[in-house]
Amino acid sequence: DVKVTQSSRYLVKRTGEKVFLECVQDMDHENMFWYRQDPGLGLRLIYFSYDVKMKEKGDIPEGYSVSREKKERFSLILESASTNQTSMYLCASGETGGRGNQPQHFGDGTRLSIL
């Protein structure tokens, strides 16, 4: 079974802090993704990475950055946390190719509160 592990289930930080969310997958997947999940808005893609050191902006990248130094690890960084970044953050990984029919595999999520 694919395992996507997010470092924290719950996190509380203060406005202006730099926040790191870590994600590790154990299936050698090329693609990794960061989403945020908000009630009534579903999942929105923040950033994704299709290879080590490669990244692309998703739909809502403002206020975030990412790092992928190793294939199995994908980090989301909130440069200066703000209260509107309070949300559930989901990491996912997936394979490449096969006409795109591979599903993504999700972690348990990190519920981040910015005070």
Binding site: E30, G42, L45, Y50, G100, N101, P103, F106
Partner: protein, 116 residues
């Protein structure tokens, strides 16, 4: 741009009732379609997927979905729900660009509550 629309935000059913959750997408090309489920306190997991062939797709736990190309729809169905089906359900679509990435567009989700 691709988009996914889930018509029902909240659905409340009694056990043994039949379920149909609507999903429509906007994309003119070949698509791959997915339904994910998130049980309370658990991670998102794949329920079923469609990429080609038989438009009626069977998934886990008795769920099925039908791809109707002319209607741009991929509705999720279950003939008889159980209390354990209480969860949030997400429809997702990926345009088949043949590219390297596996980027999905998700709907806003439908919260299903099944009353015992």
């Amino acid at each position: 741009a691709q988009s996914v629309s889930q018509h029902n935000h909240h659905v409340i059913l009694s056990e043994a009732a039949s379920l149909e959750l609507g999903c429509n997408y906007s994309y003119g090309g070949t698509v791959n379609l997915f339904w994910y489920v998130q049980y309370p306190g658990q991670h998102l997991q794949l329920l079923l997927k469609y990429f080609s062939g038989d438009p009626l797709v069977k998934g886990i736990k008795g769920f099925e979905a039908e791809f109707i190309k002319s209607k741009f729809s991929f509705n999720l169905r279950k003939p008889s729900v159980q209390w354990s089906d209480t969860a949030e359900y997400f429809c997702a679509v990926k345009g088949n660009y043949g590219g390297a990435t596996n980027k999905l567009i998700f709907g806003t989700g439908t919260l299903l509550a099944v009353q015992p």
